[in-house]
Symmetry: C2
Subunit: 324 residues, 2 copies
């Protein structure tokens, strides 16, 4: 069985770990086991201090590879911040990015390989040789796509800032007038992405941010079209009108979508979605053209997360069977 | 009074601290105090992992700025090596370079500024804004000069390796057939170097490595000629036929110079040297055309180091007075 999962950071990584648990797969991947291909969001990527930082790819890699800071959900376990403190002592800006010492090494390797001409997909594969995440991790694109957020400036106009500045520095508290994927229209899917979707038995959308994570992936020309031909089941990132975690409501507001499980499904659209899992709190939600099921969505522990992933997979297989 | 000190790493840095102590100068530099301009060796510089590393400049900067690891003589105090360990975990080479986490930040700042087009001299000035070493620290050149060491290969021929590989990885144990300053002949002194020498009352050569530290500086076209016009007093790095520290004997052997206080002075030459301080163990050393004095040379504690620097300065002032 071949499963494709377009994923953002924390929510995507935890869902993937649940999926591996549900399938009994993971780092010790065997022949004939289900194969999971992850299409990772790279819209959050940023270059700081000459380091190339890919937060979502790294969160998936560290989480599935056993290196994640479990409490925080991102960054490395047992992390220290000496380099960050020293850069600040030199007066280097920005100081708001949580750049850990262990993490720095990942970004040095990536920056070095990219400076040598390797595309991000090859770099990601090389980094995964260490982490062995038990999935095939592909960036959505090898091209540079950066999510920028348009916010008000002090002169009554607007200015665009990098997503990371909006998200980390301002904690999404500045009203977002628009969210733009700079470079998206000229980007091509990374090698293997369209093939993986075409070969997929099912596609599962984890409860990642529908705007800046899954949305960025869908904005790469060719990916959304490929996905509409597949059987796609999504897990709502919204429970009872609020994001499960993160600040997805601020992103949804920016694109004029209500923070409800139904509105997000409608935003994805029935052409993309075949099935949609909502929380029991949202039982009764109806989305035209989409099979909606309710069940507990909180990924509160490994068992609950595995059960959620299993439910998403089962629904997808059921809907695929119906399509024949 | 204006003093110029061409300096390498540990020996140069400790001598400079002694000189500051002798003069009562340092970080709280006042108007009308003696001014020390350091011409730092950059032949040891190396680019690793996209970081630009200038070991000798940093050793001077950290030592005079209060950030040095005192026991080791190089690198930062309270250093950790997380980035280095993580790079090794990714399989990155080389693993033999002692790259500390605090140090990494210095190299990131330098690499970033150089990538933005700033010359090394401007970068060094910027880094010194944090460290306030109480001297004017100039690189010998803004051009890239790399000291390479020619060693035997396995096929009966020779190969050239970077000085750092020879020094750090092989601990100077591979016989050096030649020591070459790659790029030296095309290098120009950094801005301010020739002016500082021309304006100097005296020039003091610390007990730095005469081949790969002071020698590299002298190899930059224009610097040696400028120094011969000045009053120059050197401190022997050799005591009783052995280097005070480091592995200068291996370097001297490579260029066919004996490891003696006299041979080093003759290598520098009477055109360059006006005076030469040797240890009491070498009392009676005579060098044609050079005023030789003996005294304790070990920089065993701050007081002994300050007294040594004071003696070098006094001899230089005496010789300058004789020249009129």
């Amino acid at each position: 069985m071949r499963i494709v999962v377009p994923a953002g950071g924390i929510g995507g990584a935890r869902f993937l770990r649940g999926l591996q648990a549900a399938l009994g797969s993971g780092a010790d991947h065997q022949e004939n086991e289900p194969t999971i291909t992850v299409i990772g969001n790279t819209g959050d990527d940023i270059t700081l201090f000459g380091l190339r930082i890919c937060p979502d790819l790294d969160t998936v890699m560290y989480t599935l590879g056993g290196g994640i800071n479990e409490d925080q959900g991102w960054g490395r376990a047992d992390e220290t911040f000496t380099v960050k403190e020293e850069l600040a002592a030199y007066g280097m800006r920005p100081t708001w990015f949580g750049l850990g010492d262990r993490d720095v090494a990942t970004h040095i390797v990536r920056a070095q390989m990219m400076a040598a001409g390797y595309p991000l997909s090859a770099v990601t594969e090389a980094l995964c040789e260490r982490w062995r995440p038990g999935v095939r991790l592909l960036p959505m694109t090898d091209d540079r796509v950066e999510t920028h957020v348009v916010v008000d400036d002090d002169a009554g106009g607007t200015r665009a800032i990098h997503f990371q500045e909006w998200w980390v520095r301002h904690r999404a508290a500045l009203p977002a007038r628009a969210i733009v994927g700079v470079g998206a229209e000229d980007a091509a899917p990374a090698p293997g992405v369209l093939d993986a979707i075409a070969a997929a038995d099912v596609v599962l959308l984890p409860p990642s941010n529908p705007v800046v994570s899954v949305g960025s992936i869908l904005n790469v020309p060719g990916i959304r079209d490929a996905l509409t031909a597949a059987t796609v089941v999504g897990v709502s990132p919204i429970i009872g009108g609020a994001p499960v975690r993160g600040m997805a409501d601020a992103c949804l507001a920016a694109i004029g979508v209500e923070t409800t499980a139904r509105a997000v499904a409608e935003h994805y659209g029935p052409d993309l979605l075949d099935g949609w899992l909502v929380d029991d709190a949202d039982a009764g939600t109806e989305v035209a053209g989409v099979e909606v099921r309710s069940r507990p969505l909180y990924m509160s522990d490994p068992e609950a997360t595995a059960a959620l992933a299993r439910a998403a997979l089962d629904l997808a297989l059921e809907l695929k069977g119906r399509r024949g």
